[in-house]
Symmetry: C2
Subunit: 524 residues, 2 copies
């Protein structure tokens, strides 16, 4: 029998304080994997918290250059371990090695880490504001230990131990306690080993990054509300997110959540007539990417009734039936998807195709298209906005523009919203009518583009109104904006020059940093 895997606490791999363990399953075969991982007791959290508090103080004296060097080196080490990382992640998640894991997600992860390094070196994220006349200066400083809860759907790029939240927390000078997702612990272990090695090589304190594989829900609630942390972040289901939010809120601890999103795609009549066939392919590609297991997968397609829409609906059914259903992450993913699809059908949505499990090897569900009317949707908007996480989407047809507008008004907050319109201008009047309604329901508004690509751009917003996230002013993707979540505003009033942080002194210590001095942004 293999020993239970060790957790990374206080700078060392050690035996977990754990009453139970878990194993994972290969979603392609249903076979249980051999390694056994601990479900940490509170004692592990307690030890991690104490180590994090101590190292948070140490990190305040560490240069941004050193943090950046770590992030760069961590990226390189991930690249050095590409083969084992992608193979392990493939076995645990069923995501294909190419292009997804190797060419897309690992690249995304190393790019994020390097962008974080650049942002740390550059320093502008601290938003230094200097009022020389009043001798008042402010900037954003590290918020304190950050607890990151990673989701099931990105074993690298959103993993608590290697993803965007870790990158942002480290780039802002905060230690991280990563709660890995229990569906890919072996991948998380490999990532953590790279992190540990990069910390050592860079000379950063080994306690800077800690990792637990799994904890009880109750301990998660304690963790996000513990006075020792600065903030926490969570990507995952709405149910879990709202419980964590309630706990963190009641303790006055910032928590940044990405919880759920239907990502409505509005197809205006001119676009449907002009390029309906092409749109059906684009929709299918987007809905089936990663078997629909993206936060930005389109769960809702809105169109106005008509011949073009009927044809598009048929085309989409055809493509969905033609394509082999992809793997879902776990048996529970299939169950949850089936439950959601049937809950939507119970509210009146009709299944045009799919809506049942695939019999055979691996966790699969038939590619699914549901359909309902705007009238039905408006009669029960809350229940018909249930997220069906996976390879399922729902077409809602409106009788006219006015009804479409009412559907948009009834939407909850979403990460994204897309509008496809004719290239020749014939949808422009409708666009003008509906865009504003959608605009205030989504964090990112797209034109003629599916939402599933979330570019690593400084202008990206991977956030949105509640309940897609917990606060509409923050983004989890896009550097340096994502760093702001882990900063705390600190002001210096009449503080003697030699006691100011270097970045707030009259002469900038960092020539690359933008600072706002007496109302102007200046550099160097």
């Amino acid at each position: 029998m293999m020993a239970v895997e060790q957790v990374l606490i206080a700078g060392v791999w050690r035996k977990a304080a754990a009453k139970s363990t878990f194993k994972t399953v290969n979603p392609a075969t249903g076979a249980s994997l051999e390694a056994e991982f601990p479900v940490s007791d509170w004692q592990d959290c307690e030890d991690a918290l104490n180590a994090a508090v101590a190292v948070a103080k140490e990190l305040r004296a560490v240069s941004a250059e050193k943090l950046a060097a770590f992030l760069d080196l961590y990226a390189s080490k991930l690249e050095d371990h590409t083969t084992v990382l992608v193979e392990t992640a493939n076995v645990e998640t069923g995501l294909p090695i190419t292009p997804r894991l190797k060419d897309v997600e690992l690249l995304r992860t190393t790019t994020q880490l390097r962008q974080g390094a650049t942002a740390a070196r550059e320093g502008s994220w601290t938003h230094a504001v200097i009022d020389t006349k009043a001798n008042i200066r402010s900037h954003f400083a590290p918020i304190g230990p950050v607890v990151v809860f990673g989701p099931n759907n990105f074993p690298f790029a959103f993993n608590g131990i290697s993803g965007g939240d870790l990158t942002a927390a480290i780039a802002t000078g905060n230690p991280v306690i990563a709660k890995a997702h229990p569906l890919h612990p072996a991948t998380s272990k490999l990532l953590a080993e790279c992190a540990v090695s990069a910390l050592a090589d860079t000379g950063l304190p080994p306690e800077t990054i800690q990792m637990l594989y799994h904890i009880d829900n109750e301990d998660g609630l304690r963790l996000v509300s513990d006075p020792r942390i600065g903030a926490s972040s969570f990507t995952g289901s709405r149910t879990a997110g709202l419980r964590l939010k309630a706990a963190a809120d009641s303790a006055g601890k910032p928590i940044y959540l990405e919880m759920s999103s239907l990502n409505p795609v509005v197809l205006l009549p001119g676009a449907v007539v002009e390029r309906g066939e092409k749109l059906a392919v684009e929709l299918a590609d987007s809905c089936l990417a990663a078997s629909g297991q993206f936060c930005t997968s389109p769960n809702l397609i809105l169109a106005i009734i008509g011949e073009g829409t009927e044809q598009l609906s048929k085309d989409l059914v055809g493509i969905l039936e033609e394509r082999t259903p992809g793997l879902l992450f776990a048996a529970g993913s299939v169950d949850a998807l089936d439950e959601s699809v049937h809950a939507l059908m119970d509210e009146g949505a009709k299944a045009l195709t799919g809506a049942e499990r695939v019999i055979g090897d691996g966790y699969r569900y038939k590619n699914t298209l549901l359909r309902t009317t705007a009238e039905q949707f408006l009669a029960n908007p809350e229940r018909l906005q249930r997220e069906a996480f996976g390879n399922s989407t729902m077409l809602v047809t409106a009788d006219d523009v006015a009804q479409l507008q009412r559907v948009l008004e009834a939407l909850e907050g979403n990460l994204t919203g897309s509008i496809y319109s004719s290239t020749t201008g014939e949808d422009d009047a409708i666009y003008a009518k509906i865009a504003c309604g959608l605009r205030f329901k989504v964090g990112r508004l797209l034109n003629d583009k599916m939402p599933t690509g979330v570019a690593l751009s400084p202008a990206m917003n991977h956030g949105g109104p509640y309940p897609s996230t917990g606060h509409p002013g923050f983004t989890s993707v896009g550097i340096p904006a994502a760093l702001r979540r882990f900063g705390v505003l600190q002001c210096y009033d009449n503080v003697r020059a030699d006691r100011l942080p270097a970045v707030l002194q009259d002469n900038a210590s960092n020539p690359s940093m933008w600072r706002q001095v007496d109302g102007s942004w200046v550099r160097g």
Copy 2:
């Protein structure tokens, strides 16, 4: 009998839906004032919310110039009504007409409004980020109707109808529902009349600003959690703030709170020896300003035991006894202060002077100095951090620097923290030891300066760690930073050029606005 005053809803002064009314009392005489104000029922809130939703949409099409023109004109109208405003506020609050109301607070209010106008015109608060290569663009847009709960202690500058939160909300293009404080309704009415007149003269929708005088606590909780609002802000007691926070949080609505703060002032030994006598005067001035009824009044003085500290303590007692106790706002203020002072004494603090009511006309309490040891403080840090709002402060003496450090570590989050040190460098080693501990407990760190002046500087932070506020990343004073609270991050991904907001188009429509284009801040 006078008619009950009308509320400002949906652009008109109208009879409130109210089951009860209230009157105010002149704190200088205890005499009841004649005017009768309504405690609005939920129906008034409901009507205000509906009007706010409608006007929020209208405001999206209004130019920043028009918003700015309103703010400027509102400031001018306040100046035109100086005499009646300061006289009315004086009668309701007991605050002196000069210098406080006329020369300080009204000027502060008009300055804020004009700074808000400048920020709206300038436009940089929207933090436009443009990635031309990816054609992704983002900026902060209006969050939606803002509900502002004003405090008792600033009838102009923090009033929901005229203060910094209203300024920030309007400058960002959001309508405001002001909940005036029931201790100064007549002042609020006059301010609202100026606002209404300025809205009309500028041609802004009259529904842009609405005002209720008073509502039940339960309706306040409903208001901050109503799906129709964008956000709310509150300045006041911790008890009320935490109740509102819980309600808003559970509905996923941002709420910005300023709740309580002890504003520790640390006197290092060299400074005490060097200028103890002067420090006693500075402390007394700061503690007694507005009878200690500032959010930033020093409630906690920390010093190391020694001859200098003993002398300073005596000097301070002398000054406090010599000065006439100022007016407090209401009978309830005296009760609350007395209760807090005695609660601190129950925990072992000794009263060196004061600690009792003043018999005679007006609501007054004796200028009070309590004293306790760091040891006692550390034995019960939570109870000994009870805020005593008013003309009372507490000296805590530590045996040595290490004990002082432990006291700082035991502090809750505060708005400010001050350190006084010798001008000749002999406290520098102690400063280096303790400053970091204090830094992360406060939003604004001061040197050799009392916290009670909150300059209207872009670098100001009038915020701080919980529970002084609800989130350590925001400030309620300092423009444009304070505006950010009422913005929502909106991204445009591949949106056609002519559909972009003007400020995100390639060619800036506003030459004064700073935008981050492909990594550089550029203007014009």
